[in-house]
Symmetry: C2
Subunit: 211 residues, 2 copies
Amino acid sequence: MKSATAASLARKPRADGVASRHAILDAACRLATTHGLEGLSIGELAEHIGMSKSGLYAHFKSKEELQLATIDAAISIFNADVLEPARKSRPGLARVNALVEGFLGHLARRVFPAGCFFATVAAQLAARPGRPRDKIVAVQQSWAGEFARALEQAREAGEIGPGVDRAQLVFELMAMLFLVNFEWVVTEDPGVLEKARLGVKRLLSAAKRPG
Amino acid sequence: MKSATAASLARKPRADGVASRHAILDAACRLATTHGLEGLSIGELAEHIGMSKSGLYAHFKSKEELQLATIDAAISIFNADVLEPARKSRPGLARVNALVEGFLGHLARRVFPAGCFFATVAAQLAARPGRPRDKIVAVQQSWAGEFARALEQAREAGEIGPGVDRAQLVFELMAMLFLVNFEWVVTEDPGVLEKARLGVKRLLSAAKRPG
DNA sequence: GTAAGAAGTACGACCGGTCGTTCGTTGAAT
DNA sequence: ATTCAACGAACGACCGGTCGTACTTCTTAC
């Protein structure tokens, strides 16, 4: 019965192929963070991992498919590094703080070579219609949704006042994180992480119930 | 003696040439806002203004020179549209508000086809060393300096408390504007402009002297 | 258990097209 | 008459992508 655990119709994935695919996408994530998804060239990527261009096309039918897979790979890395750890913390304000600290740590840890993958790619694709853009926008919205959910739980727990405009608060939180990423990439100064930390702290303390 | 009024060493600019150069840079600004400075191709730009690629090279010796000139052109447009009008308002908080409103108006007016030229270009160049990047970073710093100066004047006028961390306030103001540009490009929803407006208002009212 | 064969992996060569750039030339403005 | 503005042609490099072909792994039949 163990062979029945394979995929429904395709019975094909090979052991060393998934390793290559992983190596390709890992390099693609890193390159795309500095070059952008459009600026990522097949030849450069292939050379960067010691493979031929045509070798890459054994794994991806087109550049767009590579781009979409690269986004998926970045999602996995980001989820494992930031989101999942934060989800282990208590719902409410504690989780908001965990998300923020997770993100700042993600930058400081240099998981990607130039800050947040999604910030770079999103800024570059925002005005360029297509499936990659749609996917990136969806990721951004889901990231905002994470904050919205945590804030809703904070309200339910009475940690923040019921009159607090949570959508507005999400916007202001995201603004801090969005700018800190950019400044971090440009200056590499840990002081900017502290500015974001302080900004978020002021934001949340203003939302807390008086008394 | 009228020829002596020309530039010190070069006595060359022709009447219709400066018009072409202006047309080129105008189109370059718009294209770069959506495609990025790297994604801007000579052929595409030439075709876009009904000119030959080689015709462009009568005005610019290299792509990098074109990029730098494009940044200068964008600076002129931004200064005329946002900065100079705001400078006419009274120093202090009024000027901070004028800068913010000028920027939001700049977006709403769609001066560039995809939000703020500098935000897009900066996000793309942040991790790519070179003269264009340095120039863009300098622009961003001068824009932040504009806020810093206005806030200093606000403190001198007693509009905000002396204990206010102005560098921090600049960071938080810039964060609002940075994110609102991105969201505006993605959603085209005027509601995001309102969120930025509200966020700035809360920021500034918190900085005002009690009483 | 193993041999046969199907399928995945990777390659080098090559395609048409576009990239940034150079050159020599022509026509128009000064 | 001089000089700039613009052109078409052409360049080498690289782009994304295809093709035929070897080698390797996995599945299947015996």
